[in-house]
Symmetry: C2
Amino acid sequence: MSQQLLIDNIQRYVQLDPNEQELLLSYFKPKKIKKKHFLFQEGEVHKNGCFVLSGCLRCYSIDKNGFEHVLQFGPAGWWVGDMHSALNGTPGILNADAIYDSEMLIIARADQEKVYNELPKVERYFRIISERSLAAFQQRMIGNLSNTALERYDSFCALYPSLIEILPQKQIASYIGVTPEFLSKMLSSPRPK
Amino acid sequence: MSQQLLIDNIQRYVQLDPNEQELLLSYFKPKKIKKKHFLFQEGEVHKNGCFVLSGCLRCYSIDKNGFEHVLQFGPAGWWVGDMHSALNGTPGILNADAIYDSEMLIIARADQEKVYNELPKVERYFRIISERSLAAFQQRMIGNLSNTALERYDSFCALYPSLIEILPQKQIASYIGVTPEFLSKMLSSPRPK
DNA sequence: CGTCTATTTGAATGTACTCAAAAGCGGTGG
DNA sequence: CCACCGCTTTTGAGTACATTCAAATAGACG
C-alpha cells in the first residue's frame, strides 16, 4: 500500500510536514480493480479524483460508430478522472477501465474542495498539475493538427517510452488516432527516407 | 480602459474586496497591439500571462511545411499564453498575433507567483480556469479523434457562435484541422441529411 | 481604384479507412 | 501439458475523405 507514491508526487511541487501528509491521506480511499473492469463509465456523473498507485488505467470515449478513442493512459503516478463531468456536474462521455490489475487512491470532489481550504499548498499542487496537464494537451493537439500518423507514433514513443513496452498496439493506435490495421501497416512497411 | 473585465472574470469564481482588486491590478500592464502584429513568436521564451480586454488574438504553431495550426483564439475575456514555454522556461513553438486591433493586460510569470502568495484566492482562480481549460481541450481532443471535418465545424459553431461571425473562414479551417479549400467545399456542398 | 488576401471551384492525388480473412498469441480449463 | 478459445495483429483489395496544385473570383482596405 504505497500511498507514499502520492505524497512523493505532491512533494515534487509543495512540501508537506508529517501531520499535513496524514491529514491529506485521510481523505483518500484505496481501491483496486481488475483488468477490464471499470473505474467509471459514460453517462455517469463522475466527480472523484483518482491517483493511480500501480497497474495502468485507460480513459477513453466511444464514438457513434462504436469506435474507442483513448484520451489518456493512467500508469502509476498519474491522475485519472472525467474533468468535464466533475466540473459541470453533468453525465460524462468518458469511460475508464483497467488495462492491467490496478490499485489507486480515490478522493471525492467535495473532499478535494475541503482539502484546498485546510491545506492551501495542496491547492497549489493541483493548480500546478492542471497547468502541466493543460500544456501537455496543447502540445498533443498541435501534434495532431501538424503531423502525419507515423510522426504521431514516433512522438508517442519519444514521450512515453515506458508505455510502448506494456501497451497493446491497438491502444496506441487509438491514442494517436488511427485504426489498428493502419498502425500495423505503418510499422511493417519500410520507413520512407 | 476596462480592467473591470478582468476583475469581473475573476469574481465569477472568487470574491475580491476593493483593496485586493487594486493590489492585483497593480501587477498588470496594459498593452495594445494592432492587427497582424505579434504578442509573441516561436523561439522566444514567453512567460507572460495575457488577458484580452478587446479585439481578438490568435495562438498558433507553424509546421515544417509552413502551414499554420490554430491552437486557440483569444477574444475579449480570454487568457492567451504559451503554457509550455512558461512552465519549462524553454523556447516556445507557438506564435500569437492579433486578428483585430486588440487591448490586453500583461502579467509577468514571476509577478503571478507573487500574487499567489499575497492573494491565495487568485491562485484558486487560476486553478479553476486551468481545470476548465484542460476540460475544454480534452473535449476538443475527443472531437478531433471521433468526428469528421463537417462535425468538427458544427461543434465549433455550437461552442463559439460569436467567433463564427468575426473570424475569417480560413482561421476556422485551421482550428478544426482542415485546409481552407476543403472547408469551402464542405460548406458549399449540400449537406448529407 | 488598385493591391493584397480570402474564398471558390476543379482535377488529380494521397493518406488513411473499411471490410474480410488469415495468422499469431495468451490465458484457461480439461 | 496441451488444446482450445478469444483477442490482437497482420495482410490484401477496394474505397473515401481530405489534400495538393492551379486558376478564377470575390472582398477588404488603404
